[in-house]
């Protein structure tokens, strides 16, 4: 009686089976789906039997991988069928086809509940099973108490209770907030006294979930678990049906030992002793037997016992016993046991005392690295990776490299990454490290990420002893016929920097180096061409006296790439060409790269972050603990970039020569710039942006727009309006500074008033970046002090001059900023009461003979303590009316307003967190805005603003401001006025010493440029 007599179904299945190909199968399935659809259209005419038949067909079709997007209703409706066979099909098919979020499921909730609380045991089981498989929140809400009751009911038979246990598990896992398990510890303990092994098996799964969530509450269950384990181990009262090849339910044994691993430890000496007796018996008494099933089952128990012993931190003797067992397992031929031996040995690495014993098995583990089975090779790789330390790194890494040549594609990436990490962490000497990485690039270049070769360059640059060796190695690889592009990059870079150290060796003259590198150029990508151009420039610089032939060759190349469409290549070509004609000056500019600041390896960090399987992860964590990573304020770590930042992070690991040359050029002697003014125009742009990338990599700090970078101010200070503006806020005393700022300080300040990160100040030596977070009346700022040079900045001092209304606390600023390092100084701000006064940072440092002292306004301005709030008409007008007049509501006619289209004005308001509420004012020429102001005295206070403009005269308007605090109203009114009237720099800086204050020129062009709004207006 095929398919319980469902002949149509059997025919369908036969048809499918006889289909010659997928196309035929699809046709047959489509036909059947059409048939079912037609039948279901007239649902009333269907008997439950027919419905059942079609629903099974649907499940069958679904299993074959075809979408069944109808008939769900019919499947669900079968649940309410009165007879067992139909109901059963309804439940099973529903839980296969639907998920917990399906709407139809809700329709069945009442029927399901009735089945659960009803008297029919078989119906109870069906309903509990379905809820246990797909029950969602609504089921948890309406059924959890019933299910809990069933589980502990003494009148309920085991067959129902075992299902209730797993049903409850599902509801609890999915909705721990709905299912109340408080006070369940006692019930669970009671439940564990159960004799029925089916109930125990499922209750143990429930216990694991409960204990893993809160083991404290379930201590009382611990001795019960040990009792169960003893009962099974001694075969006491175990029905034949639960004995599997002579072993009392191996699954329950495993599950019980698993539950015990969720308790952190076992304090009670008696419980501990009984448990260790059982474990000892398992460890000693498990023999290899002929019958595969019996062997597997007993080893399943054994491996779980091993895990539990490791977890419990047993006595040393027992631990050594475990390692000995595992050592035996990794040498057996049976692949399953070998696999598990390797896997568990990796876990065993967690126990420090046994690592030396594990190392004794190294040769055996390496054999498994060559096993024909990839599963076993992966385990061996993980284990080798985990057990690697300084003592065995050379052997292990060399094995990995050897294996790399033959490894399948799927494993190469992991292998290269692991080899690179181990080489870096445990290198006995750095030349070996360089060897390993070059070999890696050679054998598996595709899998060597940029991080890896950047790291090599960092090491070589920072270690002089290593440079000739690395250069010689790089030169060797270039002789190979077909080398990977990454090898071209790294060799070209190293030879550019250090090739001259080889000059006396055969084949290493500048000319020869150039020609062998240049051979590779036609086959490489644009990013590599940029590196090659830098290398050529460096080779040229090192060929002294200049070889005219080489010079002409290289110049010809620079000339050729001057018209490259790749802007990076073009720029390098132009600059190098110009530079290389400067003769001696070239030497300084193209000198060797300075040392890199110490950083955490991006590679190791990545490895730590990568979500890998548990065994591997634990190994990495363990390594990370052994190798305490240095971390201080100077370590720049890679982080995900905030929105919109160019991803300079990766590249910032290595400074390309061209970038450095700018910096060096600037820093070597900034007073050079008047002489080679044209040069500065070209290169000051990338230098600031790139340096920013390097120093401020992880931050979303935007560099100044390139138009802001004018070299003129520095060359002829004080000769025109722009310069006055640029230096306007640098008090007169600082005119003595021989160091000129890069970019316009006032513009930078204004820009920072409307955004939260950016550059506050920059000169040839230092860059001060700022990043701020504002919450209510508090602000958390970080100052980033980046030394752009190769020598330290000393006598660094930062003093905050806070206005009355701000409480500011700057963390300690170090006296010295090391070369090319960045220091982060947090600055906490608390706003006490409303005021437009501005805080000033008095910053000074010494570089060589230059003493620099600048006073910089900090963008902790009034609008930072505003939060836009949207107000409806119903809220606005009562508020507006409740504040009748002065001093809470102030009105003023403002003249001399910068003419702005209404839309621009709205944008300006919004940028200051004054949220414009469109449509509130019926007059289209008016604007209404609202905001919340935060300070300690006012707390959160609503502010309302109304602007009435005159379309006939855009230079005047009437402004009304209201709030619940008179000072706030006044300050806000003045603040808004300042933004509308074009006053370039506020006159309210506390330490206003500027004699040439440009207040008197409100409409002059340069002044208007300081304000972003004005700039916009000027553009329009």
């Amino acid at each position: 009686m095929a398919m319980s007599g469902m002949r149509g179904l059997s025919v369908f299945i036969s048809d499918i089976r006889n289909c010659q190909n997928k196309e035929q199968e699809r046709l047959r399935v489509d036909k059947e789906l059409g048939n079912i659809r037609t039948r279901f259209k007239n649902e009333k005419a269907l008997t439950p039997y027919e419905k059942k038949k079609y629903v099974w067909k649907m499940l069958y079709i679904y299993m074959l991988g075809y979408d069944v997007d109808f008939g769900h209703m019919e499947a669900v409706s079968l649940i309410s069928a009165p007879k067992y066979p139909e109901k059963q099909v309804g439940y099973i098919v529903t839980s296969s086809l639907l998920n917990e979020n399906h709407d139809f499921l809700r329709l069945a909730i009442n029927t399901v509940r009735n089945d659960i609380i009803g008297r029919n045991e078989t119906f109870q089981c069906l309903a509990l099973t379905m809820v246990g498989n797909i029950g969602g929140r609504e089921f948890a809400e309406s059924l959890a108490p019933d299910v809990q009751k069933l589980l502990i009911s003494s009148s309920c038979r085991p067959l129902v209770r075992k299902k209730a246990a797993l049903c409850l598990l599902r509801l609890y896992r999915k909705n721990p907030d709905v299912v109340n398990v408080d006070g369940w510890a006692d019930r669970m303990a009671q439940l564990l006294d159960e004799r029925d092994l089916g109930v125990l098996t499922s209750s143990m799964s429930l216990l694991v979930a409960l204990v893993s969530n809160n083991h404290e509450a379930y201590w009382s269950c611990l001795p019960k678990c040990i009792k169960i384990l003893e009962r099974l181990a001694r075969s006491q009262d175990i029905p034949q049906e639960y004995t599997y090849y002579g072993i009392p339910s191996p699954w329950l044994q495993v599950k019980t030992m698993r539950a015990l691993q969720y308790f952190p430890t076992i304090e009670d000496p008696n419980a501990r002793r009984s448990l260790f007796e059982v474990l000892q018996r398992i460890l000693m008494g498990t023999d290899v037997v002929k019958n595969v099933n019996k062997n597997n089952a007993s080893h399943a128990v054994l491996f779980e016992a091993l895990a539990l012993v490791m977890h419990l931190d047993a006595e040393k003797e027992m631990m050594s016993q475990c390692v000995a067992l595992l050592g035996k397992f990794i040498a057996v031929r049976e692949p399953n046991i070998r696999y598990l031996g390797l896997e568990n040995m990796t876990r065993m690495l967690m126990v420090t005392d046994v690592q030396d014993i594990i190392k004794r098995h190294q040769a055996q583990i390496i054999t498994s690295l060559k096993d024909p089975d990839i599963s076993i090779r992966r385990r061996a790789l993980d284990l080798l990776y985990g057990m690697c330390d300084v003592s065995n790194a050379k052997d292990i890494v060399e094995e990995l490299l050897q294996y790399l040549s033959t490894a399948e594609f799927a494993m190469r990436e992991e292998l290269s990454l692991k080899a690179a990490i181990l080489a870096e962490k445990f290198a006995p000497d750095l030349s070996w490290y360089v060897d390993v990485i070059l070999q890696l690039i050679d054998k598996a270049g595709d899998f060597v990420s940029d991080d890896i070769w950047f790291r090599v360059v960092q090491f070589v640059t920072n270690n002089e002893d290593l440079q000739p060796y690395a250069a010689a190695k790089a030169r060797e690889y270039l002789d190979k016929p077909a080398i990977h592009e990454t090898m071209v990059k790294v060799s070209a870079y190293i030879l550019g920097e250090f090739g001259h150290l080889l000059a006396r060796r055969p084949g290493c003259s500048p000319k020869e180096l150039f020609s062998i590198i240049h051979e590779k150029l036609p086959t490489v990508s644009t990013s590599t061409i940029s590196i090659l151009l830098s290398t050529y420039a460096k080779i040229l610089m090192h060929s002294q006296p200049p070889d005219p032939e080489l010079q002409n060759q290289i110049w010809a190349i620079f000339k050729k790439y001057e018209s490259s469409i790749e802007v990076e290549i073009q720029q390098r070509a132009v600059e190098y060409f110009e530079l290389s004609r400067k003769g001696a000056a070239l030497m300084d500019i193209l000198a060797e790269m300075p040392k890199f600041p110490e950083r955490q390896s991006a590679l190791i960090k990545k490895a730590e972050d990568t979500e890998v399987d548990t065994a591997e992860q634990s190994a990495i964590k363990l390594r990370a603990q052994q190798q305490s990573q240095t971390s201080n304020a100077l370590v720049v770590t890679e982080q995900s970039h905030a929105n919109g930042t160019p991803s300079v992070g990766q590249l910032s690991l290595v400074k390309m020569p061209s970038m450095s040359s700018h910096v060096d050029g600037n820093s070597a002697d900034p007073r050079l710039s008047p002489e080679n003014g044209t040069l500065t125009v070209v290169d000051s742009q990338p230098s600031s942006a790139d340096l920013l990338g390097d120093l401020l990599g992880p931050l979303a700090i935007e560099g100044p727009p390139s138009i802001n970078v004018h070299p003129q101010p520095s060359s002829n200070p004080g000769s025109d309006g722009t310069v006055v503006e640029a230096t306007a806020i640098v008090p007169v005393g600082e005119q003595a500074n021989s160091v000129q700022p890069i970019g316009n300080i006032a513009e930078r300040f204004h820009a920072l008033c409307v955004k939260d990160s950016g550059v506050l100040y920059e000169d040839p030596y230092i860059q001060i970046g700022i990043k701020a977070e504002w919450r209510g009346h508090q602000g958390h700022l970080v100052l980033f002090l980046g030394n752009k040079n190769t020598s330290p900045l000393v006598s660094v001092q930062a003093l905050i001059l806070p206005p009355m209304h701000l409480k500011m606390e700057l963390s300690l600023v170090p006296d010295t900023i090391p070369p090319r390092a960045q220091v982060q100084c947090p600055l906490e701000v608390i706003n006490l009461h409303p005021s437009r006064d501005v805080a000033v940072l008095d910053f000074s440092y010494k570089f060589g003979n230059d003493m620099v002292d600048v006073k910089l306004r900090l963008p902790a301005v009034l609008n930072k303590f505003l939060q836009p709030i949207s107000v409806s008409a119903e809220e606005f007008f009562p508020q507006w009316r409740s504040l009748p007049g002065p001093p809470l509501k102030l009105q003023e006619v403002v003249r001399g307003v910068r003419p702005l289209p209404l839309l621009e004005m709205a944008n300006l308001f919004n940028s200051y967190h004054l949220l414009v509420c469109p449509g509130l004012d019926p007059n289209p020429n008016n604007l209404v805005a609202s905001t919340t102001f935060f300070s300690e005295s006012t707390r959160a206070m609503l502010c309302l603003i109304r602007i009435e403009t005159d379309p006939a005269d855009r230079t005047q308007l009437r402004m009304t401001i209201a709030s619940g605090d008179p000072t706030l109203t006044f300050e806000l009114k003045e603040f808004v006025k300042e933004q509308l009237v074009s006053i370039p720099t506020t006159t309210r800086i506390p330490i206003q010493q500027t004699p040439t204050s440009p207040v008197a020129q409100p409409t002059s062009a340069p002044a208007a440029l300081t304000d972003p709004g004005a700039m916009l207006a000027a553009l329009l």
Partner: protein, 161 residues
């Protein structure tokens, strides 16, 4: 002893509750699915992709290789009976051998009912295969391992129909 890591820590404080068995598949040696039971919801596309990948990985393996295949972030424990492969997807820290023997228990249970079960039995009695599995696994956990208990509901159904 190394206490830094708080013992071997089977997820003490880990907070992630795992489900154990994620799916049970029966596939013939041509790679055709004969039974598929998932304990976590996957869309049809996800199922198709997953079954394809698994079949490609496991069916190519030989008798000398172990019964465990690592796939994505979980493991497949599999066993072959004549033309039929039983594949069980489990979490990484599940006890592999226990699952391997659980497959055998399932096969023995089917044997007891069908008498030397074969691919055709499962094809043409898909509902019974499902009923048996449902008695054995629920919500990704083992619920029953006694063959007579597993088969009781099916016998009941045979009697009523």
């Amino acid at each position: 002893m190394n206490k830094v890591l708080g013992g071997f820590g089977r997820g003490v404080g880990r907070g992630i509750i795992r489900m154990g068995i994620r799916f049970v598949l029966m596939v013939n040696k041509q790679g055709q699915t004969r039974l598929a039971q998932y304990y976590e919801y996957l869309t049809l596309d996800e199922r198709r992709a997953l079954e394809g990948e698994i079949v490609r990985k496991c069916l190519a393996r030989n008798e000398q290789q172990c019964s465990f295949v690592e796939h994505r972030n979980y493991k497949i424990v599999y066993r072959r009976y004549a033309s039929l492969f039983f594949l069980v997807g489990v979490d990484n820290d599940e006890n592999e051998l226990a699952i391997l023997e659980f497959i055998h228990l399932l096969v023995e249970t089917m044997d007891r009912h069908f008498g030397n079960v074969c691919e055709l039995d499962i094809m043409f009695h898909l509902e019974k295969a499902h009923f048996m599995l449902e008695e054995m696994v629920m919500n990704g956990c083992i619920v029953e391992t006694s063959k007579s208990n597993i088969l009781t509901p099916i016998q009941l159904m045979d009697k009523t129909s």
